[in-house]
Symmetry: C2
Subunit: 307 residues, 2 copies
Amino acid sequence: MFKVTVIGSGLIGSSWAIAFANAGYDVHIYDRDDTSFANSERYIRQELASLNTSANADEVIQRIKYTASLAEALNGAGYVQESIFETLEAKQEIFSAMDSLVDDDVILASSSSSIPCSAFSEALSHRAQCLIAHPVNPPHLIPLVEMVPAPWTDPNVTEKATALMDDIGQTPVVVSKEIEGFILNRLQGALLNEAWWLYQEGYASVDVIDKCISDGLSHRWAFMGPFQTISHNAPGGLVDYAERFRGFNFGIAQSRSNPTKWDLNAAKNAAAEVDALEKGMGLKDAVAWRNDMLRSFKQWKSNGSES
Amino acid sequence: MFKVTVIGSGLIGSSWAIAFANAGYDVHIYDRDDTSFANSERYIRQELASLNTSANADEVIQRIKYTASLAEALNGAGYVQESIFETLEAKQEIFSAMDSLVDDDVILASSSSSIPCSAFSEALSHRAQCLIAHPVNPPHLIPLVEMVPAPWTDPNVTEKATALMDDIGQTPVVVSKEIEGFILNRLQGALLNEAWWLYQEGYASVDVIDKCISDGLSHRWAFMGPFQTISHNAPGGLVDYAERFRGFNFGIAQSRSNPTKWDLNAAKNAAAEVDALEKGMGLKDAVAWRNDMLRSFKQWKSNGSES
């Protein structure tokens, strides 16, 4: 087993470290200064203690090391998962720094959630070794990873990175060609835009909109995606559904053909409504509750349809 | 307990009958001819046998009667759940027929999934008693119901209908004002449009798009809605998220500001991909599998976060 390097010791990087170390890989976490290492280690210890695995949490945590030296972090690595702040400049800077330090064998994957790989890898010597491996936050509890190669990514690199994701228990999907936001965040974004506008325009409260997903649409999406879902919702299946409802859905799209940016005053009001729903528990407790729920849901998924 | 009348003996009407009868209500199912009654009864018996309740399936089914006489169906009813074919003409016709037969006390609710109540109730003598109670298919397994009053709906009618939904174990939400598609189908429609275009344009297969929901976004949406979800995805909460990502989401909206109708050739290809995913099991078996999964998911939801 090769060493895995995680670039960035924030929540996404720390969660990736859990996923890799839990599957048996030695993990080296890099950050440019060591001020965040204590927080990262605390989060990792807490999450490992909560995971329902037979692995001993102490044994797993011993596979995780920290360093503020990029050269040390990359030395001997077979796979790198970059998980730093999401701006084009930050991605360009770190990939350029890595490019000057690595050999021809390592895979350089980015957790970028919307910036395509070609935007920061074109000029690199090792650009054929670069691709996107976009997780869902937090990756140690949510399996899906979008693998998005650039036009110049070596297909063997995509294949190996995908196999690694399978090996650590994630669910990798390979996106056919680059687009800003890839698939997952474009789907979420389209739904968020409609949710935001309906809220801003006074059609429903945050609670009503959120329940339409959590007590409505999610019941089917918990085990099948949107195409499979609609194929059951017309007597003649998916083509029949398209014939019946494409007019309605075209109408929705047309009604939003002159889009506006989310209003930040609406954001303040919506934030107050979310706080009320969460009874003011604060972000840290809310994330701990979310992770408990994600663990429980993952357990349900792994049990399949037994009720 | 008053009698509940279900108008329409198709899948939605039959599912509503299960939800009402299971909660102890006597249910009268009307359809204009009796040819579909046998299918409806077969579906209801099969679903009742699968439900994890202490109620005896035979006892529940004895509360359900069928009739092809609208007058008989409405006689003595306290609540009507119309669930017929979704066209404006069909809704106008049945509501007009009911209007001439009912007194001032009954509630006339429509399962309409997108047509607002004002479109077919304006001219009725009993229009103050009409509203939308839009379920998610199938309502006996998915709790959410959108309550959407017309401008002239008596607020007491909305309140009583909402209380009835609570009483039978559904999760009613009241939409503040009418809009085509209400909340749930506009959210689903916005996501479906983006999914459809990404598929048509060759960015990803049906399987990849579906997994982005079922193995990705659904893990959080299974227990919280989109607003609560994003409030955990930026260090400063929802306002911080809006500041960071509204530009990205505005970009998605702008890229779709010249929408096209779903291509029916793409629908044929997508249908073939769904068939392959389902190993050609066919709609009837697929729906039976879906209902098993929905029952199991509902069980998980009722257990809360215990894992």
